[in-house]
């Protein structure tokens, strides 16, 4: 696959092909939001589920740790009280990581991959 002898000329050919294709209007306009088939995960339900899972998972871990520490240091539930707050904060941090501008690796990789796949499909024609 990658043992092609003419691979060193690959990028320039790819660029020329891309330029030619965009001249002819054959390429879809890049980065049209919501047009990729893989975007179904970004539906409202998908976003809701992702946010919910992130929030709850942090809370679950925190409560588990707090419960364990409370058992370890006697039955006083002070650790649960502290760790519920910390877990809520960690959940919000998870959600912020997911949606922070310029920090969404998931979406970046997707768009990058989509463009590359489009170029590859063009070559094989």
């Amino acid at each position: 696959m990658s043992d092609d002898p003419g691979e060193d000329e690959g990028p320039s050919f790819e660029e020329r092909l891309k330029a030619a294709r965009s001249r002819q209007g054959l390429d879809a306009p890049p980065k049209s939001p919501g047009s990729m088939p893989g975007d179904v995960g970004m539906s409202p339900w998908g976003i809701g589920l992702r946010v919910g899972v992130e929030l709850v998972s942090a809370l679950v871990v925190a409560v588990a740790i707090g419960y364990g520490l409370s058992l370890l240091f006697g039955a006083r539930p002070i650790f649960i009280a502290v760790f519920v707050l910390l877990g809520g904060a960690a959940g919000v941090l998870n959600v912020w990581r997911m949606f922070a501008p310029g920090n969404d690796k998931w979406m970046q990789k997707r768009t990058g991959r989509g463009n590359r796949d489009g170029g590859g499909a063009g070559i094989k024609h």
């Binding site: 899972v53 992130e54 871990v61 960690a90 998931w106 991959r113 590359r116």
Partner: protein
């Protein structure tokens, strides 16, 4: 099975039953284990049979095998960076194990082993300990600076470091629950609508139209399940790559 009497029993499909008679019963070998082996064999078969012609112009199966290889390889390299090549076998194995596990479950009479939290939690723990180990291997003790956010006054660190650690630990839950919940919810929906079809059709001739509508919903749901199966396998693999990226590059 789904509709016993007048109640819908949507959860019994997830029960484990030993296969292969007495041998399976004494080994504790359930249908879940059987389909794990089937999924592994299908992955091997796709690569083995697909790549056996070694044709310059690939046929269908060889194209599928090559595209599978290239898609996972580009996912690794794009997400993790040049170091991603080293993690390619792991991510490939993980992705195809989950993908075939999810897709097998849509097939009639097959068992979805990814609908058990034990299975997804075990897979997630492998990912978690691997990414933590990779971080320690690449950075040594410096790895723990991952939990110290940059540009924060030192006074806030006692508050923020535990939050970062909790956020890191919550990956275990979020990664496993996401896959498990998606697969289980989908199969419960299939079971419920399948039971609607049978129960309404048996309830008399005036219920045949609602029964047909349920059947239409069921067909749409199966298509949706195939999509969810693929998407969730992809999500699991890409999140594994992102975690490995964090471990290799810290931030």
């Amino acid at each position: 099975m789904a509709a016993q009497g007048s109640s819908i029993d949507a959860m019994s499909q997830f029960e484990l039953h030993p296969v292969f008679g007495h041998l399976g019963a004494s080994l504790g070998f359930a249908q879940s284990n059987l389909f794990m082996i089937v999924a592994a064999l299908l992955t091997l078969g796709l690569l083995w049979v697909g790549m056996s012609p070694r044709a310059m112009v690939p046929g269908r199966l060889q194209s599928a095998a090559e595209m599978a290889y290239e898609a996972v390889m580009s996912m690794c390299v794009d997400t993790i960076g040049p170091e991603g090549r080293g993690f390619f076998p792991f991510v490939f194995t993980l992705f195809f194990f989950i993908l075939f596990g999810n897709l097998l479950g849509v097939w009639p009479y097959d068992f979805t082993f990814t609908s058990h939290i034990v299975v997804t939690l075990a897979l997630t723990l492998v990912v978690f300990f691997l990414s933590t180990g990779v971080g320690l291997y690449y950075h040594g003790g410096h790895f723990f600076s991952y939990f110290v956010p940059q540009g924060v006054p030192a006074l806030l660190l006692p508050l923020l470091v535990p939050i970062e650690v909790l956020s890191y630990l919550s990956r275990i839950i979020s990664l496993s629950v996401r896959l498990f919940a998606n697969m289980m919810a989908g199969h419960v929906m299939l079971e419920v609508f399948g039971a609607f079809v049978v129960m309404l059709a048996g309830a008399g001739i005036i219920f045949w139209i609602p029964s047909a509508l349920s059947e239409a919903v069921l067909i749409a749901l199966i298509g949706f399940e195939i999509l969810v199966a693929t998407l969730q396998a992809y999500v699991f693999a890409i999140l594994t790559c992102i975690y490995l990226h964090d471990a290799v590059h810290l931030h």
